[in-house]
């Protein structure tokens, strides 16, 4: 039986010899060192004298700069201090993140009047405090310097060379007057085009606006599902899904952990089934069928690929097999057929505990999926029609009708809020042309996006953190929005505009307050605002299943045209989504969970396709960021995109992310990054389709740099980093991990008679250096799905700088917390993907830390509470610590990313190289308001890394002291822990036996391991091994592999390690057998 191999880059799997060689070379690019050739030192470009001149000058400059008089600093107390406001103390306001149909109840942390961090609202029963990366990053959008700052009207339309020119309205009254006059003159119908409105008060306002026609349009459309549900007797609605109640989950192309419908809620439910009780190891089983490798697919137990055009066929065959047929009707691929058979059998065996979801936007396919869900008893158990959701209600045909009316000149006034059809509509040119025929066009969007540029009036609305409002994500659940800051710019809630223009003089704040005090009373309203969320019992039964449309749907799907050639599937990235938050630097720099690429979109292609195009997937392919540019021709359009080859793609499928290629006015972060592919979307008469077939690919021979973050954090082939196995193997030999640890200790004892933990070091036993407080973290890899919310939360909490694409390309990314992605494939076939492991990697806070004893100035050392502490102002930047860190988690400030240097404009330096303009954006005075005042902003030349959010730990301790009580478990939480919607991270005092972290370790002894334990660095972070629910033996999980030559020794204890290796459940053996 062939072995599994864990790998991060193609070099490792295809050319391990060279990979090792290259891994030893610290710098992969030519270094700008001048060689001292025969010309001698003085003839070199920078001879000794110059050096001395610079040295002298910089010393003198430093002396002058430092010796100047200390500047006089002023303090401004309040004139009249608000009663409940203490400078320096953070306040939390319950509010709601609403964007593109995502609704997440949150708390905004407000320090000295400015929101600086978003936390989940744990009073919400379905998100329970979970957040997403985009939700975490939304606080930065508030301070976006490219937001529109005042109401304006267009004075000159855009030409080919010049962007449109706008002029300010000095007051909103003047804007109201001008627009009212124009609307009267225009006549015709008045239409409001929005993304789905989830706010009850806004719906109320719209319904009271006489003569207003409301059209909802969502960039990521769920029309197919809405129409299918209507046909199946549930009405034009979407249900609530309960992934926690499902023992078997089948997803046909639905990325429900990343981007599909309500990922935060689903991740929470899904993790219930994925966490393992060791005494009785059971977990839910997740089958995934898809064309490209999505984040959710990466987490599946069993994953099968198919062409995007075969989605219907897969659903149909699944239905017929559940209904009893033996053979698949349309699917011919054997592996896929086997997968469908297995899934069908499992679904049938779990009546009432199973769930099928499908990401397709095709009505007929969704009708078939409804039939499957009905057959497996999902309705009423895992699918709840009592709480239908209110987001993503847009119907594709409605905007088609609207565009037709606009073209016909029937629309007099078009108002647009929260939608950007000039960018997201599949035929933007057609929309723009139709827009020109509308006499009055008003955009309420917050930025000068593609649609606003085309409109005559731009009346910017507030950011949600500046707004009053409400959102009703599901029936009976209302989440409130209250402002956390006074509006930064001259903006106005668009609801106020609607009220005024419909003749109601109240502003929206008043309207909203009166609406809810009328319903809840003033105390009830205040309580609801304070909690942020109000949940009522389920309202209705919501209809019952009817199979009426099924036969028609089946024949339609069966008759659907087969896909040909290469198929293109358009997907959303977890970070960028539909592109509404593309101007957010934190999100652009967040590596994609699967491709680990930042700052770009690209075509994901399969390994066979790469071969077909003549692309060699070797070390050079991985090492150099230059990726081949491929010309993709499809549907009469062609575009040139770089490719990234990844395993687990259907051979003839390529995947491209939407949300890129934004206009210049959207800001330096998004403008010119990647390409817009919305124009590849096709409209089939009923719904839009995000997959197209018949594409041809051509290797242009040119290259383009993609900034990926994975390969430079390699572990020099130490692969014991990741531990994972199958459920079957885990049940058969549960104690493999503790055995490994015990073996280490035993061997140490046999050789030196000491205790492995306490004595295998030059220093005193680390335990004796601790007080009774010792911070530790446990990370459950079974509950980490790679979404990256923790990474963004860490950015926000710890002032982690953004470095820009150019710096990421030079491996200068600054993430304190990264999520490593490992592919598990067959050792002989890199495309035979068995699973993907996501491992959050951050400073391990080793008790015997290798970084500490190499620092010449003791800038990094250990605290008595187990924290590996970093004193920035002591650091002189030798980078020895980073070199000596086995986990590669230390980050060096190569340039002045944050503007914290004593010298102004220290970023403009030739030696550092040119930095991207996003750095300037992050250093804008408005943007800097997002910085956390409790955390030092690091300057150039110092090392930084995860601090376990020490500022929060200190604050928690102080709070306990002030209240004269002991510290309780849960008082101190790290930012990553709070952001995680799947509760994969547990943190606390490990010496407190009642603490969650101590309990988690105790209860999961058989899965808990330290990364690279044999190095004896004694980390304070433990991981819980990932278990895949596969009924297969994992050959190298405790399976008595006898040694062989060990690939790379960590020290002199060769013989010990050998013994230890015999139980080492890792891929090291794979390499051994290769030698």
């Amino acid at each position: 039986m062939s072995q599994n191999k864990y790998w991060q880059s193609f070099g490792e799997v295809n050319d391990p010899e060279n990979f090792k060689k290259m891994a030893q070379d610290e710098f992969h690019e030519e270094l700008p060192f001048e060689s001292f050739d025969d010309k001698g030192l003085l003839d070199a470009k920078a001879p000794r004298r110059d050096f001395l001149k610079y040295l002298g000058f910089s010393t003198a400059a430093a002396a002058i700069a430092a010796g100047c008089k200390i500047p006089e600093r002023k303090v401004f107390p309040y004139g009249n201090k608000p009663e409940n406001m203490v400078p320096g103390v953070a306040k939390y306001y319950a509010t709601t993140y609403v964007q593109d149909g995502d609704v997440i109840p949150v708390l905004a942390k407000v320090r000295d009047g400015r929101p600086i961090k978003i936390e989940g609202n744990d009073l919400c029963s379905f998100t329970n405090g979970g957040t997403s990366a985009r939700c975490q990053a939304s606080v930065l959008d508030l301070y976006d310097m490219y937001r529109l700052r005042y109401p304006q009207h267009r004075v000159a339309a855009a030409t080919d060379t010049e962007p449109a020119k706008f002029e300010e309205f000095p007051t909103f009254e003047q804007a109201d007057k001008a627009i009212a006059e124009a609307m009267t003159a225009a006549g015709g119908t008045t239409v409001l085009l929005t993304s789905t409105i989830v706010s009850p008060t806004t719906k109320d306002i719209i319904s009271k606006y006489s003569g207003l026609k409301h059209v909802q349009y969502d960039a990521d459309s769920y029309s197919g599902m809405l129409l299918a549900n209507e046909a199946s007797g549930f009405g034009k609605k979407l249900p609530s899904y309960n992934f926690g109640a499902a023992k078997v989950i089948v997803s046909i192309g639905a990325d429900f952990l990343g981007t599909w419908l309500s990922p935060v809620e689903f991740a929470k439910g899904y993790s219930k089934g994925r966490k393992i009780d060791e005494k009785n190891p059971e977990m839910s089983k997740h089958y995934h069928f898809e064309g490209h490798l999505s984040m959710t697919g990466s987490n599946a137990d069993e994953r099968f690929t198919h062409r995007p055009s075969e989605t219907g066929a897969v659903a149909l065959d699944l239905l017929s097999m559940i209904n009893g047929t033996e053979e698949t009707q349309t699917i011919k691929d054997e592996k896929l057929e086997e997968g469908i058979r297995k899934a069908a059998a499992d679904l049938k065996a779990h009546q009432g505990q199973a769930l099928v979801v499908c990401g397709s936007n095709d009505k007929n396919i969704q009708i078939i999926v409804n039939a499957i869900n009905n057959a497996i008893g999902a309705y009423g158990t895992t699918i709840d029609w009592g709480k239908p959701v209110n987001y993503r209600q847009g119907i594709d045909s409605e905007i088609e009708e609207l565009v037709a009316q606009m073209e016909a000149g029937q629309v007099g006034t078009l108002m647009i809020a929260g939608a950007n059809p000039s960018y997201t509509y599949y035929n933007a040119a057609k929309f723009n042309a139709a827009l020109k025929k509308v006499k009055v066009t008003v955009s309420f969007n917050g930025k000068m996006d593609e649609t606003t540029e085309q409109c005559e009036y731009a009346i910017p609305t507030h950011h949600y953190l500046e707004s009053w409002g409400d959102a009703e994500p599901k029936a009976g659940v209302t989440s409130f929005i209250q402002p956390a800051i006074h509006p930064l710019f001259k903006t106005r809630a668009y609801q106020t505009s609607l009220l005024k223009w419909s003749g109601n003089d109240a502003d929206y704040d008043t309207y909203f307050r009166e609406y809810w005090t009328g319903k809840l009373g003033s105390d009830g309203f205040n309580a609801a605002l304070q909690n942020g969320i109000k949940e009522d019992e389920a309202t209705s039964g919501g209809g019952s299943y009817s199979g009426a449309g099924l036969a028609e749907a089946v024949s339609a799907v069966a008759a659907a045209k087969k896909g040909s050639g290469t198929e293109v599937v358009l997907y959303q990235k977890v970070s960028i989504g539909t592109g509404a938050q593309a101007g957010n630097p934190w999100l652009q720099e967040l590596p994609d969970p699967v491709s680990k690429a930042t700052w770009d979109n690209y075509a994901l292609i399969s390994i066979p396709k790469a071969k077909e195009l003549g692309i060699k997937l070797n070390n050079d392919y991985e090492y150099y960021p230059q990726k081949p540019l491929v010309k993709i021709t499809v549907g009469g359009k062609d575009l040139i995109l770089p490719i990234l080859a990844i395993p687990g793609m259907q051979a003839d499928t390529i995947a491209i992310a939407v949300g890129y290629g934004r206009n210049d006015a959207s800001g330096v972060t998004a403008a010119g990054i990647g390409q817009n592919v919305y124009d590849l979307v096709q409209y089939n008469g009923t719904t839009v389709d995000f997959a197209v077939s018949g594409a041809t690919l051509e290797n242009t021979g040119d290259k383009y740099k993609i900034a990926q973050t994975q390969k430079h954090n390699s572990y020099e082939n130490r692969k014991e980093v990741v531990r994972e196995t199958t459920l079957k193997s885990f049940k058969a030999s549960p104690t493999v991990i503790p055995d490994f640890s015990n073996k280490l200790e035993e061997d140490f004892y046999n050789n030196s008679g000491g205790n492995f933990r306490g004595n295998a070091t030059l220093y005193p036993d680390p335990e004796t250096r601790m007080t009774e407080l010792r911070w530790g973290m446990s990370i459950d890899m079974n509950a980490c799905y790679g979404c990256g919310a923790c990474v963004v939360a860490c950015h926000a909490e710890n002032n982690v700088p953004v470095v820009g694409k150019r710096e990421v390309l030079r491996y200068h990314d600054m993430h304190w917390l990264r999520i490593d992605r490992y592919f598990i494939t067959d050792e002989n076939d890199a495309d035979n993907l068995k699973g993907v492991v996501f491992q959050p990697m951050l400073c391990q806070h080793c008790d015997n830390a290798p970084c500490e004893n190499v620092c010449p100035v003791a800038a990094t050392n250990h605290s008595s509470e187990g924290i590996n502490q970093m004193a920035y102002n002591r650091c002189i930047g030798t980078r020895y610590c980073a070199n000596n860190c086995p986990y590669k988690v230390r980050r060096f400030n190569w340039a002045d990313y944050t503007g914290a240097d004593s010298f102004p404009n220290n970023r403009d330096q030739q030696i550092v190289g040119k930095l991207d303009s996003v750095i300037e954006q992050m250093n804008d005075d408005v943007t800097r308001m997002v910085l956390n005042p409790d955390v030092t902003v690091r300057s150039r030349g110092v090392m930084e890394k995860c601090s376990f959010c020490v500022q929060k730990l200190q604050a928690a301790k102080l709070e306990a002291k002030k209240e004269n009580r002991m510290l309780q478990d849960g008082d101190a939480k790290t930012a990553c822990q709070m952001a995680c919607s799947a509760d994969a991270i547990v943190f606390g005092n490990v010496y407190d036996e009642a603490s969650a972290v101590a309990k988690t370790r105790e209860e999961n002894k058989n899965r808990t391991f330290h990364v690279l334990e044999q190095l004896h660095v004694l980390p304070n972070i433990t991981y819980m091994a990932k278990i895949r629910n596969v009924d297969e033996d994992d050959p190298h999980w405790g399976g008595g592999h006898e040694g062989g030559e060990h690939g790379n020794e960590e020290g002199g204890h060769e013989s010990e390690e050998h013994k230890a290796d015999s139980t080492l459940p890792s891929a090291t053996h794979v390499e051994e057998s290769e030698h």
């Binding site: 303090v75 107390p77 203490v86 009774e772 008595s864 970093m870 004193a871 102002n873 030092t936 601090s947």
Partner: protein, 424 residues
């Protein structure tokens, strides 16, 4: 030419006495410094050395009552109520000053000794130790300066004498007819040059290092504020609690300067300054208190003739000059020190109740912080009834205290010297 030839032994004596003297100085300062720290943290809120405050002046304390016995003094300080029960002298003090002294159970006999040493030191009028009249106008003697001048003079004398010596030698050689090579002039004498270079290096290095350490430090910084606000009048004479205005110190990292509406709470009624002592600026100019109150009214938009028309929301902030500045990489939390640490404001800000214009008393250097963290005891819950329950977690210390291995827990013991207690 001076016809005189000093012997080497004389020089030696001069140098020796110089060293002995400085060593002695160092010893005396050690005691006093510790005493000063304790005095500032515990006594200074009520006592001054030379003048009566809330409590009696402490100068000459050993000469009063039976305080020359430090054990007695310790008993009194540890538990004033118990001591006073059968001691008429302290009862008299209570009658005189109106309140009983606060007890300090954690003060030890060594502490008492140190404090007394400090008081004696502070009470003795300082006279310049050297013969030079240069440092006369300064109240405190700058020893370093005097020693420097003495060394310089001695050095010059030594140099002259050596020159004289060599001249005399030359003259006697001439007289005796011994032919010697022409002596090297002193400015080309390599030994001199080397000596000079070494001295220059040491002095220069010392000055540079000292200057560099002092960069950004602002001890004694006393800027002029937009309004002559006297802490002496408010917190000293009128006994307004510090926290009334600087309430942030109780809740927040920032003590914060009070907003205008807080000033107006009292000054709506108090619109002139007539009763208190005359106020003077540092340069001796007299200050018109009433005019200063008028400046506050201007900022507040308050008309004393029409007080009911005042609208606090129209008040404009006053632009004060910040005195105590910490670098950005230091995290300092007032509530941590005031509320959890129970440190008096005066420990760091000095005798603020006696200051008209506020001056920075401590240098706010890291060494200063660390020193306090080494000495200061935390509010440890030695028994169930006293101290902060937070510290219950430190079982090891509790056991050690029970076993008599340690008698108190300092900030240092619980990790108060670690980098990430203040830098993060």
């Amino acid at each position: 030419m001076i016809p005189c030839k000093p012997t080497g032994s004389k020089l030696k004596i001069i140098f020796l006495s110089f060293f002995v003297f400085s060593v002695f100085q160092v010893f005396a300062q050690g005691d006093v410094a510790a005493g000063k720290a304790i005095f500032n943290s515990k006594c200074a809120s009520c006592h001054q050395v030379l003048k009566d405050g809330t409590g009696p002046a402490l100068a000459g304390v050993e000469s009063r009552h039976n305080w020359s016995d430090h054990n007695e003094l310790l008993k009194w300080v540890n538990n004033p109520a118990a001591y006073m029960a059968n001691d008429s002298y302290t009862q008299g003090l209570k009658t005189k000053f109106g309140s009983m002294m606060t007890g300090f159970a954690d003060v030890t006999l060594t502490d008492i000794g140190n404090v007394v040493a400090y008081i004696n030191d502070a009470a003795t009028p300082k006279t310049p130790t050297g013969g030079s009249g240069g440092g006369e106008p300064q109240k405190t003697t700058n020893n370093a300066l005097i020693f420097g001048i003495i060394s310089l003079i001695l050095g010059i004398i030594a140099l002259i004498l050596m020159q004289v010596n060599s001249n005399l030698k030359k003259m006697s050689d001439d007289a005796e007819g011994i032919v010697r090579p022409e002596p090297v002039p002193f400015y080309r004498n390599k030994i001199y040059i080397a000596l000079l270079a070494i001295i220059f290096f040491i002095v220069g290095g010392y000055l540079v290092a000292k200057g560099a350490i002092g960069l950004g430090r602002q001890k004694d910084y006393q800027p002029e504020q937009p309004i002559f606000y006297s802490h002496k009048v408010h917190a000293g004479i009128n006994q307004i609690s510090c926290l009334y205005c600087h309430g942030g110190a109780w809740d927040s990292k920032h003590a914060a300067i009070p907003s205008v509406n807080v000033c107006m709470n009292c000054h709506k009624a108090i619109n002139e300054y007539t009763k208190g002592p005359k106020l003077y600026r540092e340069n001796g100019d007299e200050v018109d208190g009433t005019a200063e109150i008028a400046k506050l009214y201007k900022a507040a938009g308050f008309d004393p003739n029409n007080p009911n028309a005042w609208d606090p929301s129209k008040a404009q902030p006053i632009e004060w000059t910040k005195i105590h500045n910490l670098p950005d990489h230091v995290y300092f939390n007032h509530s941590q020190h005031i509320r959890a640490g129970k440190v008096q404001c005066q420990s760091c800000h000095g005798e603020i109740t006696a200051m008209d214009e506020v001056k920075q008393v401590a240098d706010l250097s890291m060494g200063w912080c660390i020193n306090c963290h080494r000495q200061t005891k935390v509010d440890f819950n030695y028994t169930d009834s006293t101290g902060n329950k937070f510290y219950s977690i430190y079982e090891r210390f509790h056991n050690d205290i029970k076993a008599g291995k340690m008698d108190s827990v300092t900030v240092e013991h619980i990790g108060g010297l670690e980098c990430q207690k203040c830098h993060y």
